[in-house]
Symmetry: C2
Amino acid sequence: MKLDLKNGHVDMSHGSGGRAMADLIEGLFVKAFDNPVLATGDDQARLDVPKGMRLAMSTDSFVISPLFFPGGDIGSLAVHGTVNDVAMAGAKPLWLSAGFILEEGFPLKDLEKIVSSMAKAARDCGVQIVTGDTKVVEKGKGDGVYINTAGVGVLDPSLDLGPHRIVVGDAMIVNGTIGDHGMAVLARRENLDFEEPLLSDSAALADLVQSMIKSGASLHAMRDPTRGGLATALDELAGASGHGFQIEEKAIPIRTVVRGACEILGLDPLYIANEGKLLAFCPYDEAETLLAAMRAHPLGRDAALIGRVVEDKQHFVEMITPLGGRRLISRLAGEPLPRIC
Amino acid sequence: MKLDLKNGHVDMSHGSGGRAMADLIEGLFVKAFDNPVLATGDDQARLDVPKGMRLAMSTDSFVISPLFFPGGDIGSLAVHGTVNDVAMAGAKPLWLSAGFILEEGFPLKDLEKIVSSMAKAARDCGVQIVTGDTKVVEKGKGDGVYINTAGVGVLDPSLDLGPHRIVVGDAMIVNGTIGDHGMAVLARRENLDFEEPLLSDSAALADLVQSMIKSGASLHAMRDPTRGGLATALDELAGASGHGFQIEEKAIPIRTVVRGACEILGLDPLYIANEGKLLAFCPYDEAETLLAAMRAHPLGRDAALIGRVVEDKQHFVEMITPLGGRRLISRLAGEPLPRIC
């Protein structure tokens, strides 16, 4: 029973713990994720923490539909999503675990594509997939493949980033255009065509974060505005910081095609998911230093200062419209786009 | 929109990243898993590694059906399974991540039961659930709830356990009866009744492992025989160690009711999954020391020496039957029991 990656399909035996599962693990996962820790074949990875470092740990499950979308697929997304959550603490992500829930009948060639893309994404951002697990569920109890990744990174203990560090007067910076991921997935899902292609911004932000730290600007907090979009991240952070935020609508970078697609579909780009974006807080007079470092990085070319932290006991997020009007921004209540990540 | 844990159901908005998801996380997960790291509400946990320790990391996704079974449920199992994988390296598990994939329509009261059971299992074995994620999929794209946990533990760098340490002459020890978990789940799934109740052995082995380390016996390797059962673990370890194994059939502890149920159903208990068992290797003349330490622990009361490591270039696992016959044991090829964990 050789693993037929070209014409084969996932069957229940691939989750049995027996020979078929071992063939899948050795013939696909271990080969693609190629690293000495995983290659030991143990049920756990043993890892050395550089002296004096703390850890940052995060997890995400990915249930995105469709599995392949313009600008990425569930494999690259499963690396980027977790790497970014770890990086938002200022940590350097080093290790990932990967748990696959496969649906019986899923083509092995699609799985191979996803696993290769995952392996490439991990290599590109310098993390190793060091341990994993495979389960199989019956046809109709899943949707092709769901992936969980958990990530561990190392953190300089002198770095203490978080909403508790945000103070009145801080500048708020995004590293680029918002709404790209959600609109790309939606367009693919609904077979919508626009004059320009919509592309996910899915990317690992760990290297950009290291550049930001090295810039010397005093970073106070970072957050990646994924599900719920920029608006939800702003609302959460305002609440957690105990301050109000004031943002300038015209300062928020949005691609013309994304803005147009949102208008046609009646969606607000502020609530659309991003997978390669971060929101950063630093003292206002250090914003230029931080922006310069970000713009020198490929993932921060369109970085923009979008607002500032103000005194407000109600922790409102207020947006100043291009005509000078004011609009309150709250977090997403419903669900415009299910299974976006 | 208050969280109605008594009569409510999971809907797509619980995975949206918005207010409904925040309500679920704060009203259920953060409350149940109650610990200061999770309570920060950040997208990642920051953790301090005791000086001089290495890490051990592992992951498992749980897709068991049914979700509730005699002796446990998917929540306790999701803690035990990953804790055990970390512990098999000799590490002390400290932190878990938890990723939930919920099916639309799943009763919140069942989710609450599972989450409480998970919280209790974690408390009982001294691990903290420090970070998590919730996704929701449409009805018919999941099966109630799937849970992924990833675990990180700390490991004394002087401990080097693994199949590479197994040498000819080593004793092979199990901590108790085999086949209990798989048969309990199967009986519940198929509504089978036996004269005695079948109970899963699902348990966290981390504390037993610490007792074994403290016994002073030179542990060479450990493995938890889960999916594929004892036979598959033996076959894998023989291959990885480069030696042959000889086991005594009559020395393997099996509950009478499990043996009987297996006979009726035409199953071999050697291939049935365990969730609270481990297989340990140590020098033969230290086996009594190790056994004594194990038998003094509630999870090792029925510990037994079941065989020894022999020279064999083909790495066979040979079982000596009660009548003195010899039978070769290979790993599970097919799938007698799908979704057993």
